[in-house]
């Protein structure tokens, strides 16, 4: 037990890899065994993150459960892990969504072993980003996460998967190049990659040791580095106009892949803003807050319109992510502009909670699209119609989750969007007002989805014979149940999670 309590983060982080290695030695024809092994194994990190959650002291400053090991001595980069209120919520989200995604993947029947192993590797990659307190480690995990996702899309995706997976991979890598250079510069200049010490040194640095600035002022260098960071994370979020990889990747990815992609991978980008951009570049972030707000509002508006313009159900949901993540960036922009004020804290609370909330509702939506796709083999909204009487339970769940996505008060999305709007209104009123256009059309695309799938005259094609649409299964309900419970719980009583976020936000921003 002692080992566990002193190595809690590393255990959570590497348990999925360990499980994947065990699965490697399972017989490859035993699909059922592999599925269950992966699913049960993924419950362990979840249980441990609950331990983490309940042992976390939200009133204490700084990082907790820190671990530090020698890693790359020559560069003075250490394997340094730790969590605060922000990363803790993201760790919880990741370890919660992974078992659900694995449970959702039980219908995968091709190359089962590879699939489940990749998924577990993916979990480690994502968790590493959230736990890392060393820039180089952060970058390593950031890139590691790409690989399993690439193969998941490429091997288990639908028709256009080669294009989508390549676009996803190349685009994110391209964004990371600038990040890598900027990270190297920081490492060389300060002789360390440790975030805790970089937070103290870099924002106030007037000179840079060991780095030839090429005649540029330190301010210019910082601005360039700032944008290198921003672009890398903006692609991942994704922010307009870097968002076009997302609809393709989502549409082609297998259901569970989309769940994780929307639920967690997008959060990596937003988390990059919170963990690195704002603490490392407070001045630049303040100076360019308007630019971030502009991109955010464009994402909100065009995400909503893009979604509204779709006839593919999955693509519609994919675009909704652009719309929702725009609110995260809007909150971040507002907080960057007036750091230290109540407005900033409220906006940032909203942004972080929105990350968590979007993780729940987007994962749920993608899963529900997957449920109906698996049965009908079509995602075209015009092929459905009036299915509600055939699948009343599924319909009820779909409406519930759609409403969460729409931001209906009483469910989780409203709380975070309200906080963002409230925080941003005092700081960036014009942008906030424009964002309302997006909020309006959020309603339009959500209702469009429900309209075409559930409502209207019943499409007789799905009533009889081999095409007969079957109701959502118990396993599938079990995937949705935890998500729905949390959606309602946060909507009615957000304090349990928001208090953790709030305390961290007040200290950091």
């Amino acid at each position: 037990m002692d080992f566990l309590s002193s190595h809690l983060l590393t255990t959570i982080l590497f348990f999925p890899v360990l499980a994947a290695l065990v699965i490697l030695f399972l017989p490859k024809d035993e699909a059922k065994l592999i599925r269950w092994a992966a699913f049960v194994a993924s419950l362990v990190p979840f249980a441990l993150s609950l331990v983490l959650w309940f042992n976390f002291d939200k009133s204490a400053a700084g990082f907790q459960f820190e671990e530090q090991y020698v890693w790359y001595e020559a560069l003075n980069s250490t394997f340094h892990l730790g969590v605060d209120g922000l990363s803790l919520t993201m760790v919880l989200l990741t370890t919660l969504l992974t078992p659900l995604a694995l449970l959702a993947s039980f219908s995968i029947s091709e190359k089962v072993k590879g699939y489940f192993m990749l998924f577990l590797f993916l979990e480690t990659g994502m968790l590493g980003v959230f736990m890392a307190l060393d820039l180089l480690i952060f970058f390593v995990f950031w890139e590691i996460g790409l690989v399993p996702m690439y193969f998941l899309i490429n091997q288990w995706g639908s028709a256009n998967r080669n294009y989508a997976s390549l676009k996803f991979m190349i685009y994110t890598m391209a964004g990371s190049l600038g990040l890598l250079l900027a990270v190297q510069m920081l490492g060389v200049a300060f002789g360390t990659y440790d975030l805790v010490s970089l937070f103290d040194k870099w924002p106030y640095a007037a000179t840079l040791a060991n780095v030839a600035l090429g005649g540029m002022s330190i301010g210019t260098v910082k601005t360039i580095a700032f944008w290198a960071f921003v672009v890398a994370f903006a692609i991942k979020v994704p922010v307009w106009p870097f968002h076009t990889w997302l609809p393709d990747a989502h549409t082609e990815a297998p259901t569970a892949g989309s769940m994780i992609l929307a639920g967690v991978l997008l959060k990596l980008g937003a988390y990059g803003f919170l963990r690195l951009v704002l603490p490392l570049y407070p001045m630049q972030a303040q100076q360019y807050a308007w630019a971030l707000a502009f991109l955010a509002v464009m994402a909100i508006i065009f995400g909503a319109f893009g979604s509204y313009g779709q006839t593919d159900f999955k693509r519609l949901v994919a675009y909704s992510s652009v719309n929702h993540m725009g609110f995260v960036l809007l909150g971040i922009a507002a907080a960057a502009k007036v750091a230290g004020t109540t407005d900033a804290h409220i906006a940032m609370n909203g942004a972080v909670l929105q990350m968590f909330n979007h993780g729940l509702s987007a994962a749920g939506m993608f899963f529900l699209v997957g449920v109906i796709y698996e049965r009908t083999h079509t995602r075209n909204l015009n092929d459905f119609g009036g299915l509600f009487p055939l699948v009343p339970v599924y319909g009820g769940i779909l409406i519930f989750t759609s409403m969460a996505s729409l931001g209906l008060p009483g469910l989780n999305g409203f709380i975070s969007e309200f906080l963002v709007v409230r925080g941003a209104w005092g700081v960036l009123p014009g942008f906030t007002a424009l964002a309302m256009i997006g909020l309006l059309f959020t309603g339009a695309y959500i209702l469009k989805g429900i309209k075409n799938v559930l409502h209207g005259p019943l499409n007789e094609h799905w009533v009889h014979g081999e095409h007969k649409l079957t109701e959502i299964s118990l396993r599938e309900v079990l995937v949705m149940a935890p998500l729905m419970a949390l959606i309602l719980w946060i909507g009615v009583w957000p304090a349990w999670i928001l208090d953790v976020i709030n305390k961290a936000v007040v200290r950091l921003f």
Partner: protein, 718 residues
């Protein structure tokens, strides 16, 4: 139980009923409606206790309690419940109308009737065939296939309304507000299999959402400006003073700007022009839903919100000349009142007439608020809720009776909602007739007897007393039209002789439907007596003007009663009686729409607002989404640039391969340069060394060793 705790509990039973029905009892119709009606009864009971405790207290101000809810930086945002005099009065009518509607729904959805022959979830029931003891086959009404679901939804609806009323802050009020928006969507589209119902549901949700996003901005603005959303903290003299003196945009004060933003929410929710288009289409839902939306809950919520925000709206009002914000409100209200009354005149669907009359009456209330007539607006809100609930339930009863006739004759081409297919129903459905008559007369403002007279008269009196001539005249004309179209409706529906076979075979509805009608009729008459002005000739002073005294206590300063004048009273009498009389005279002999001279296309087509909005907003939005955003911007420009990079990279790669690698390096350097000119000759030269003779190798080795030895000696040892 303390009153505060009781107030917390009031909204819960219907919410619980919703979850119970959805999760557990949806298979059992009897259990589901028992739970729902029981929940409505519990909330009603709680509301009555709270109401009478409030009334019983001398100088009552408020019951309030709150808890911390959201951490916001260093402080907590608190939510809570509060019932002040206005809240108590609203709670009273909400509880009554909601309970009546719940009870009525049991009969309306044909509980106890057999399952339909071809009924399917998502479509209205079509009737069932039964065989009596003589072996004759009859078609009778069939039970609603989604019976349980209906009760779950109206339960949630009631929860939304109760939450809105008991909230002590704008945020939870907004939560209730939006939950009602969702429920109206679900219930208007209850028969979702009909494309028209589906479209109406989306239209309702989207149109009100336009208002809601503005309201959200207003809430954010208010929160930012005052640091709180709790009513009792905002409506203090200091806060209001600060807000009134802070400039915002367009020359408005912060108070005015916030009031207008919040008011746009009301424009959507209470279906005021220009966002009125959703409400008539909302008739697609089952009739109890229409009553719920039009009387008990949703549209009343909009007016209630403006009543709540009244101190904010009038914060920079000095008593002379309306402020910009108030003028906007007054204009929208008065214009809507008249505008929708003109449309109501030309409608033939019994529910549509009522729908437009609702919009018009809400306009009265909004106009009253715009000119500062707080009490009059609140009074009309409550009397209207009673008589409009009565009228809607009455019209539902008529339709139900007509459907009975339609099933009897089997002619399904007869529209049971078209008033021209009715006539003479007073003999077939006496209870429905008398109660509908009471409701209709209350709506028209029939003097002295009905509640509608007292509340409408008070609005006119207030407008007159403060010299708001434009509002006064507009509302008077609207009131005349109201009386006129109401009498048209009563005449066409109930008077004369049946115009169709179906109307001849119409049938009075069961007790679950008529009981609510009778109870609501009592309020449609009696509620007026609690607000008789003190100086009214003869009657004034006999009964105390309780409403004015009680509800006036909500505001910081108790509003003064207006002085009595014969002009508004005369106008009131003239328009009500004149309209009713004229309506009867014109329509008593009209037999078909062709004989109706008011079927003017512009009125029938609602001044073409639907068409105009479709052309101006709906179609462009589609184009903007599908073509501009998706095809042009994302697929065209952004992906175009990405693909260009991709192609450019591929081109560079190909070029490097084809021209540099293949030609330069492979052909020239590797093949020609190296092979033919360098490596081949060199290799040929070197080949000679490899002779295969061991002596020569030995010699070479010794030579190398010698040279190395010399070098080592000179560089490292010397």
């Amino acid at each position: 139980m303390t009153t505060e705790l009781l107030i917390w509990l009031i909204p819960l039973p219907p919410a619980l009923a919703f979850f119970l029905i959805v999760l557990f009892t949806n298979k059992s119709k009897a259990l589901s409606h028992t739970i729902a009606v029981g929940a409505a009864f519990l909330s009603w009971l709680g509301s009555m206790v709270v109401f009478f405790r409030a009334v019983g207290e001398e100088h009552f101000t408020a019951f309030a309690s709150s808890i911390p809810w959201l951490p916001t930086g260093d402080t907590w945002f608190r939510i809570g419940v509060s019932i002040d005099p206005l809240g108590a009065a609203v709670l009273f009518f909400v509880a009554w109308t909601v309970l009546m509607i719940f009870l009525y729904s049991v009969g309306y959805h044909n509980f106890g009737q057999p399952k339909g022959d071809h009924d399917r979830a998502g479509l209205p029931p079509h009737g069932a065939t039964v065989t009596d003891e003589h072996g004759h086959k009859h078609t009778v009404l069939s039970v609603e296939p989604m019976y349980s679901r209906f009760f779950a939804f109206i339960g949630l609806f009631a929860f939304g309304m109760y939450t809105l009323v008991v909230s002590d802050n704008l945020l939870t009020m907004f939560v209730g507000w939006e939950i009602m928006g969702l429920c109206s969507y679900l219930l208007i589209g209850f028969w979702y299999g009909k494309p028209s119902a589906r479209a109406a549901a989306i239209k309702a949700f989207m149109t009100t959402r336009i208002g809601d996003v503005f309201m959200l901005l207003g809430i954010a603005f208010l929160y930012k400006a005052t640091g709180t959303l709790t009513f009792s903290e905002i409506f203090t003299e200091e806060t209001l003073h600060v807000l009134a003196n802070t400039p915002a945009f367009f020359g408005l004060s912060a108070a005015g700007a916030i009031a207008i933003l919040l008011f746009i929410g009301t424009v959507g929710k209470s279906a005021q022009w220009p966002l009125h288009v959703w409400l008539p289409d909302a008739m697609e839902g089952p009739t109890p839903v229409s009553a719920m939306i039009h009387a008990a809950t949703m549209v009343s919520a909009g007016v209630y919100a403006v009543l709540r925000m009244f101190p904010l709206l009038t914060a920079d009002f000095t008593g002379h000349g309306l402020t910009t914000a108030m003028s906007v409100v007054a204009f929208i209200g008065a214009f809507t009142a008249l505008f929708s009354a003109t449309i109501a005149v030309a409608q033939n669907d019994i529910k549509r007439v009522l729908a437009y009359s609702t919009i018009s009456q809400l306009g009265f209330m909004i106009a009253a608020l715009g000119i500062g007539a707080y009490i009059a607006a609140a009074f009309h809100l409550i009397t209207h809720a009673f008589f409009k609930a009565l009228l809607f339930l009455g019209s539902g009863s008529v339709i139900h009776g007509m459907e009975h006739g339609v099933l009897h004759t089997g002619n399904h081409h007869v529209d049971p909602q078209d008033m021209f297919n009715m006539g003479g129903l007073r003999k077939k459905m006496p209870i429905t007739f008398w109660t509908f008559l009471i409701g209709g007369f209350a709506l028209s403002g029939f003097p002295i007897l009905t509640a509608g007279f007292w509340s409408k008269d008070e609005i006119l009196a207030d407008a007159f007393a403060h010299g708001h001539w434009a509002v006064f005249i507009t509302l008077a004309v609207a009131a005349f039209l109201t009386a006129f179209y109401t009498m048209r409706q009563i005449t066409l529906t109930f008077l004369g002789e049946p115009r169709t076979k179906e109307a001849e075979h119409a049938h009075e509805t069961p007790w679950t439907m008529t009981t609510p009608l009778v109870i609501l009729a009592v309020f449609a008459i009696g509620y007026g007596w609690v607000g008789i002005p003190e100086h009214f000739p003869v009657l004034g002073g006999i009964l105390p003007n309780w409403f004015h005294e009680f509800v006036g206590g909500t505001l910081l300063e108790h509003p003064e009663a207006v002085e009595f004048s014969w002009i508004p009273l005369g106008t009131s009498l003239l328009v009500a009686l004149g309209g009713l009389g004229l309506g009867w005279l014109v329509y008593r002999n009209v037999k078909s729409p062709a004989e109706d001279r008011l079927q003017i296309p512009a009125l029938k087509n609602k001044w073409y607002f639907d068409e105009a909005y479709d052309f101006l907003f709906v179609k462009p939005a589609y184009w903007f989404a599908e073509t501009f955003t998706y095809k042009w911007m994302d697929k065209g420009v952004i992906d175009g640039i990405l693909h260009f990079f991709g192609k450019a990279a591929a081109w560079i790669g190909d070029t490097l391969r084809n021209y540099i690698d293949s030609i330069l390096i492979n052909d020239w350097i590797a093949d020609k340069l190296s092979h033919q000119w360098t490596i081949h000759p060199a290799a040929r030269a070197v080949r000679r060394v490899q002779t295969g003779r061991i002596q020569q190798y030995m010699l070479a080795s010794i030579g190398v060793l010698f040279v190395v030895g010399v070098l080592v000696y000179y560089f490292f040892m010397a």
